[in-house]
């Protein structure tokens, strides 16, 4: 590397450390640092470190307390172990295509029986505070919960989730400050390409977790928690 390109590279250490470069430029810089002499690479790394320590010190000027609910949700998530395995994507848009397909039959049935009192799903969908959380399961497929705190209930839709292996069931748990509360059990027969279930009494729970349990079911999660949907 020429002296000129070395000094050019060092000039990029500050923008690089501040994430003020594009993705392609970042990759190019990293390649150049890897190819640089040990002295230049060390100087680059040292400058990156100093910039980051400096901005860490500057962060004393912008502290904001995060919403309290975030702490509980994170702790529930790491306690269940699910956080290590995959990441849930939280969505706040109203019922999407997956749900529309999953609940098509359900709503058609509701329309025909218009004199009957509204079912739990109908009440949830009509609620002012209806929310949606969705995520991919590590086993495959997706799970979506549409829920309302006001109606104290939710509707779970699972698409293309493989059935549990023989002699096991999926169990759903409402996770809260007082631990896990059983919310439902699904054996191999009840898991179809499009499975729906009503979840009652969500209360103050902050997540819906799924675990694999022996076929007789458990009263507390004993098997691996395969997934957890945060209920914001």
């Amino acid at each position: 590397m020429t002296e000129r390109s070395e000094s050019e590279l060092l000039e990029l250490a500050t923008p690089y450390a501040m994430h003020a470069v594009s993705d392609s430029e970042r990759a190019a810089i990293e390649t150049r640092v890897a190819a640089a002499s040990a002295a230049v690479a060390a100087a680059f790394d040292d400058e990156v470190r100093l910039v980051r320590e400096t901005m860490a010190a500057v962060s004393a000027s912008t502290p904001v307390e995060p919403p309290a609910v975030l702490r509980g949700r994170l702790l529930a998530s790491v306690k269940s172990g699910s956080a290590r395995r995959f990441r849930w994507r939280t969505t706040v848009f109203a019922a999407a295509a997956a749900i529309a397909i999953g609940l098509g039959a359900l709503s058609a049935g509701l329309a025909l029986r218009s004199t009957a009192p509204p079912s739990t799903p109908a009440q949830v969908f009509a609620a002012r505070d209806v929310r949606t959380v969705s995520g991919a399961l590590p086993e495959g497929g997706t799970a979506t919960v549409v829920y309302s705190r006001e109606k104290n209930a939710g509707v779970l839709v699972m698409n293309n989730v493989p059935p549990p292996s023989p002699d096991t069931v999926y169990q759903m748990w409402l996770m809260g400050d007082n631990g896990a509360k059983l919310a439902g059990t699904m054996d191999a027969k009840s898991v179809t390409p499009s499975t729906t279930a009503v979840i009652q009494d969500i209360g103050k729970s902050n997540a819906l977790a799924f675990s694999v349990e022996p076929s007789h079911g458990s009263t507390q999660p004993t098997g691996p928690v395969i997934a957890e949907l945060p209920l914001i």
Partner: protein
């Protein structure tokens, strides 16, 4: 623009970081509190996180110690959430991004290398990177710019932590930011908090790339020296 959201508190005659005999810089340059009783959970934002504590917490988190994770969160989350919110300017996005940051901490605590920097800088670097990625993904520059005015005006109300210690720390940072030129502050604002690349900053300010790079570098050096970061 050019205002980093911190009202300048110039106190004549106070220049040294240790002058107030409350907060000094430790060997890593991070502010450490001197001779204060430990604070309980829930008021952790009042306590500037000390490097040694955070290092040992990260070692325990790597072993999946939930208590250590909770403590690490309590010690660092106001800094992390504050930085993320400063970049994203949207409470929902900020909450989601902060959640992702801490799940990453839980999964990757074992990757933290104390030789490469302090634990606080490590977690804030993760947070800043995610926030910047999110800003660029959203490509909502126009909207954010629109919101910038009101967000800046509202800023003081955001800040919940208001102990004497923190006020002191904030004052020192504000003083150091005050030593920068307006042009330098503007670069930091646009690049670090605005999520722009230095090339975008140069376009925005109609200044050439070399000028922007040296402004950023000079700004960081000025801050580093003023804050006593080593």
């Amino acid at each position: 623009m050019g205002n980093l959201g911190i009202s300048p508190h110039r106190i004549p005659g106070v220049r040294s970081l240790c002058a107030a005999d409350v907060v000094c810089a430790d060997s890593t340059g991070l502010p450490v509190r001197v001779a204060r009783p430990p604070l309980r959970y829930g008021t952790m934002s009042e306590r500037p996180p000390a490097t040694g504590d955070l290092n040992s917490l990260l070692r325990r988190i790597a072993q999946h110690d939930v208590d250590a994770f909770a403590e690490f969160y309590d010690l660092t989350s106001p800094r992390v959430f504050g930085l993320v919110a400063r970049v994203l300017r949207d409470p929902g996005y900020s909450e989601e991004t902060t959640q992702e940051v801490y799940l990453q901490v839980w999964r990757n605590a074992g990757n933290y290398d104390p030789a490469a920097g302090s634990a606080l800088a490590w977690v804030l670097t993760l947070a800043h990177r995610r926030a910047v990625d999110r800003v660029r993904t959203e490509q909502a520059a126009a909207q954010r710019e629109f919101r910038y005015g009101s967000a800046s005006a509202d800023r003081p109300a955001d800040v919940v932590a208001d102990s004497a210690i923190l006020r002191e720390e904030r004052r020192q940072v504000a003083e150091c930011l005050d030593t920068l030129t307006d042009a330098q502050r503007e670069c930091i604002e646009l690049a670090y908090y605005g999520g722009l690349t230095y090339a975008q900053v140069s376009e925005r300010l109609s200044a050439n790339l070399a000028t922007i790079k040296s402004r950023m570098r000079d700004a960081l050096r000025g801050l580093k020296n003023c804050l006593g970061v080593t």
